[in-house]
């Protein structure tokens, strides 16, 4: 999604002179064009993420919409207090862009993973976390972000194109079945593992959710949940503070009762061993084989 991001960002920067792009010394083979287009509006702030976010807040205070780019863990955790106070409390248009959310940086190891980013950022005032699932979602999210002009986090991963073109919104129905028995809701590109798991689907409604905090559910999603009363939430993020918990807090306030709920989520490093993104997904049960098993199990309930 990094290419989709940089292409869209190039458009934004060339069409809006009141945008600034800051990187924390990363972006080789991705940000070169942005640098060329933005000229003095492109800042390499060095390996200094806290200062980078404070600088972004100062620029935003003076009227510049400011992108702050790094890999997801560096863009979120080191500078969390700057995001909370400098950006969110002042409700400034600073857009944090984290590449490689979840286990995206695979074999790079735990320092390079971001599996608690949504939990850290989504409770902050005025903040919205955007998690594209398919390549085309990136431009949609950026349009939303630049329309809203408030604090935002964009979590990029390895996305593929939509199987069939759809009108993208914050909640998307990716797969519809005629007689749904399970509703699967996915966060981010891990949706591709779900698609792999259900090649001949007859019973699954599959949704993606792109924005957290989850404010309200779509009519389509409510209808599906009311029919199936069985949910699998799948996210490359820890259970606490992730999509699942956001969803449960909404469901608890609604009249849909007796729902069977399964959460598939990042479990950290259960075997204490390391590998590529697919390895870590498998360790956490986010791989297509396990998803298939969970579906079978839930159908039998």
């Amino acid at each position: 999604m990094r290419n989709e991001f940089s292409k869209k960002a190039e458009d934004i920067i060339s069409s809006n002179p009141k945008t600034v792009f800051i990187t924390g010394d990363l972006g080789y083979n991705a940000l070169e064009n942005i640098q060329k287009i933005a000229k003095e509006r492109f800042i390499n702030a060095g390996v200094a993420e806290q200062n980078m976010v404070g600088v972004a807040a100062g620029l935003a205070y003076k009227g510049f919409e400011t992108f702050v780019y790094s890999i997801a863990p560096f863009a979120v955790f080191r500078c969390l207090e700057q995001i909370k106070i400098d950006v969110c409390i002042h409700n400034l248009p600073v857009y944090i862009v984290g590449n490689g959310g979840g286990y995206g940086y695979g074999i790079m190891g735990a320092t390079h993973h971001a599996i608690e980013d949504i939990a850290c950022l989504s409770p902050l005032p005025n903040m919205t976390c955007w998690v594209p699932a398919f390549k085309e979602d990136v431009a949609f999210c950026l349009n939303q972000i630049t329309d809203q002009k408030k604090p935002a986090y964009l979590r990029l991963g390895l996305g593929k194109p939509y199987p069939a073109a759809i009108a993208i919104s914050k909640i998307n129905k990716i797969v519809a079945s005629e007689s749904p028995r399970i509703t699967i809701i996915a966060l981010g590109p891990v949706v591709h593992n779900v698609l792999e798991a259900i090649p001949e689907n007859k019973n699954i409604d599959l949704f993606t959710i792109l924005a957290i905090p989850l404010v309200k559910l779509s009519d389509e999603l409510i209808k599906s949940l009311s029919e199936t009363k069985k949910i699998i939430v799948i996210e490359e993020h820890v259970e606490r503070g992730g999509l699942g918990e956001h969803l449960l807090s909404i469901l608890a306030k609604m009249s849909i009762k007796n729902i069977e709920y399964v959460s598939l989520h990042a479990k950290g490093y259960p075997s204490k061993l390391y590998g590529n993104q697919a390895f870590h997904q498998k360790e956490s049960g986010l791989d297509s084989e396990n998803i298939r098993k969970e579906i079978t199990k839930l159908l039998e309930v």
Binding site: V20, Q50, N51, V55, A57, G58, Y61, I85, N91
Partner: protein, 261 residues
């Protein structure tokens, strides 16, 4: 001479605020109030002073009361439930309190962003950041310092309120002198070290620095005394924290009267 009366009046106001609120942070406000007097004389309407040492908020409130931005009625709500005037500055309420500050190390990076924005907008505004010397312990201070030099932000003026005391001891005994002039010189700052209680000198030093468009960020290392103007508070760590009882308050007022007669 010109400022002596102002220094006295504002100190007495400051003391009454703290006394009414039964609150601490008196020493750190007294150490930087003269810097704020000078800064608010110098800044233009659209320029901003960022009080990065947010624990001295009462000094800022007192100044903004004298400029008319904070009314007497509002000032009287300091520390009370439902106030706009929390112990550390709150966001989004007053033009000249542009940011919520109080977690140390935030104001300087924000100031760098404003300075960079001013360059992009081709305006001649400066931005002023007032930090404590304890605050120069923070890593962000050094990130921002190198940023300001690398990006040639000659439109930022940083003032370090160097009272040599911090949260739990003397700076020299904790991490050493992180506000040392040679350290800051070696990074590339244009620096004047100055008596932080001589408003006239501060006024001319800040003016001198801000008008030098030489590609270098500016720094005033202001040698100050914690609790300045109240003899029994001066250079005492406990006046970072303690509130005054009535007897102390009276003594403090007469000490100010004597020192600024």
């Amino acid at each position: 001479m010109e400022y002596k009366n102002k220094q006295k009046i504002l100190r007495k106001k400051l003391l009454s605020l703290y006394f009414e609120a039964n609150a601490g942070h008196i020493g750190c406000s007294l150490s930087c109030i003269d810097l704020l007097i000078a800064l608010f004389e110098i800044k233009t309407v659209s320029e901003r002073v960022i009080l990065s040492k947010g624990h001295a908020a009462a000094a800022l409130y007192t100044i903004l009361n004298s400029t008319g931005e904070i009314s007497d009625e509002t000032l009287a709500t300091f520390y009370k439930n439902g106030t706009k005037l929390s112990a550390h500055p709150s966001a989004n309420l007053f033009t000249n309190i542009p940011f919520a500050l109080g977690s140390l190390g935030h104001g300087f990076p924000i100031g760098c962003g404003i300075a960079y924005a001013n360059k992009l907008q081709n305006n001649s505004e400066n931005v002023y950041v007032l930090m404590s010397d304890g605050e120069t312990n923070e890593g962000t201070t050094w990130e921002a310092a190198h940023f300001a030099v690398a990006k040639k932000l000659d439109n930022i003026v940083v003032l370090i309120d160097k009272n040599k005391l911090q949260g739990f001891g003397f700076t020299k005994d904790i991490l050493g002198d992180t506000a040392d002039i040679n350290k800051w010189k070696s990074i590339g700052f244009d620096i004047i070290e100055e008596d932080g209680h001589d408003v006239e000198k501060l006024f001319s030093s800040i003016n001198l620095l801000k008008n030098k468009k030489n590609g270098m960020p500016k720094l005033i290392i202001a040698n100050t005394v914690k609790g300045k103007g109240v003899n029994f508070m001066e250079n005492k760590m406990e006046w970072h924290y303690l509130p005054m009882n009535e007897d102390m308050y009276k003594k403090a007022l007469s000490s100010v009267e004597e020192n600024y007669a």
